[in-house]
């Protein structure tokens, strides 16, 4: 039985098959509207994440399956002190597949060890969020046709952003990838990431200002810069506009550049950018559903 804990659990070839299926579903949703008839997805969310949970629920519902679950720890047996191991043993009796979100790192892995059904890590603290990474990759592949040979700008909080770290780890597997990290000094990408890139001979650059590198980018992945991450108010005020994407900055970008964002957005992308054809973040949310549909089918053995 297969689980998904880490975005790297699937090989590049397996990911290609998964993304092919997702694109098939996109083209022909009616063909897949009943493949999960009679199947149940359990969404076990020990901390609220409405967007991720709804994306899973939408995916299963669009496949004809049903969804049960809980949306936060207070409304579940976890509040009474039940362990993850016990919970998943019980959920294994109720459902055919489980998506688990938990504030503690490694909780979904503990579940997978005791589970009789496939477990999908739907986010475990600051550790992994593999379906976000699969969403990002599918979006790029669908809109660009491939995943290799891109110069990718990652902008904002690169220190604490797990989606960013995960995406970097996933993209280094594709030849010709080059990274440009755009962040204030305080929020630079961690050393272990740059060490890994040097070891693998993946070129990267670290810059402070977004404008300077806009023309080079095939893709711009935006993340939020939170005020609390700064040491002082002055720095925050001085720097915050560097990391807000607006139409003026978009004018410097190439015509085929894509703007991605894991959402929710706060103010790091001005709403005036939304109508730009290069803004791909809402389409990204749509691909999030397709990739989860393909993933559920694959883990249930319904893909071929």
């Amino acid at each position: 039985m297969r689980h998904l804990m880490n975005p790297l659990d699937f090989s590049v070839e397996e990911l290609d098959r998964l993304f092919d299926l997702a694109n098939e579903i996109e083209k022909n949703p009616a063909k897949y509207a009943h493949v999960c008839d009679g199947k149940i997805l359990a969404t076990c969310f020990y901390e609220p994440s409405t967007r991720t949970r709804l994306s899973f629920e939408s995916a299963m519902t669009r496949l004809g399956g049903r969804v049960i679950g809980f949306a936060d720890a207070n409304s579940s047996s976890a509040a009474k002190g039940e362990s993850v191991s016990d919970t998943i043993r019980v959920i294994s009796c109720y459902a055919d597949i489980c998506a688990m979100r938990h504030p503690k790192e490694g909780a979904p892995m503990v579940a997978s060890e005791k589970s009789r059904i496939p477990v999908i890590n739907a986010g475990d603290g600051g550790h992994y969020h593999p379906t976000q990474t699969l969403t990002d990759l599918l979006t790029i592949r669908s809109l660009k046709g491939h995943l290799d040979g891109f110069t990718i700008g990652l902008c904002g909080d690169l220190k604490f952003g797990r989606t960013v770290h995960s995406l970097i780890n996933a993209l280094v597997r594709y030849p010709g990838t080059r990274f440009i990290f755009i962040s204030p000094e305080e929020l630079k990408v961690p050393d272990y990431i740059t060490e890994m890139l040097r070891e693998k001979n993946v070129p990267y650059e670290e810059v402070i200002r977004l404008e300077n590198v806009m023309p080079q980018l095939d893709m711009l992945y935006m993340t939020r810069v939170q005020k609390e991450r700064f040491f002082n108010e002055e720095d925050y005020v001085r720097l915050k506009d560097f990391y807000v994407l607006d139409t003026a900055k978009m004018e410097l970008a190439r015509e085929d550049m894509l703007v991605l964002h894991p959402l929710p957005r706060v103010n790091e992308i001005s709403v005036e950018v939304d109508d730009d054809p290069r803004a791909a973040y809402f389409r990204q949310a749509q691909y999030g559903v397709y990739v989860r549909m393909a993933l559920i089918m694959t883990l249930l053995g319904l893909a071929s």
Partner: protein
């Protein structure tokens, strides 16, 4: 050197870093075994200045030596049978160690899940890096139980 009689069958663990013998005694579970154990502390050593030695009289199949390699792979393991050294064992880093060291990451599931074993996996054998199986936090020295 202090002489602590010969053993018939068992192990002589030599070149233990001075002061570490008691911790190894515990990790091998010798406190739970009904066998003769001699702990020699601060023996003189040409190579190390001072060293500890453990002599354990027991069936040679009863001890799990994996943990030794994790603690210090420079320890020399002499296997004794019929009063003679029959083998000098090379210690290799174990792929995985269970309940020897504890994950101290407060965000790790091991911090709350009932009776979950603390498992560390060898992530990089060249650099001797172990990581928690669940949260992948690197093991740091001094975290031994």
């Amino acid at each position: 050197m202090l002489n602590v009689g010969k053993i018939e069958e068992g192990f002589v663990l030599d070149h233990i870093k001075a002061g570490k013998s008691l911790s190894i005694y515990e990790h091998l579970g010798l406190d739970k075994l009904d066998c003769t154990v001699a702990i020699i502390k601060n023996a003189r050593s040409e190579k190390m200045g001072k060293k500890d030695i453990l002599k354990v009289e027991c069936d040679i199949n009863t001890l799990d030596l994996d943990v030794l390699a994790f603690i210090d792979h420079n320890i020399t393991v002499n296997v004794i049978k019929a009063g003679e050294i029959v083998q000098k064992k090379e210690l290799v880093l174990p792929q995985q160690i269970k309940n020897v060291i504890k994950c101290h990451n407060p965000r790790c599931i091991t911090s709350i899940e009932q009776e979950l074993p603390h498992i560390f996996v060898l992530a990089d054998s060249a650099k001797e890096v172990y990581r928690c199986k669940y949260c992948e936090e690197k093991y740091r020295e001094n975290a031994i139980f």
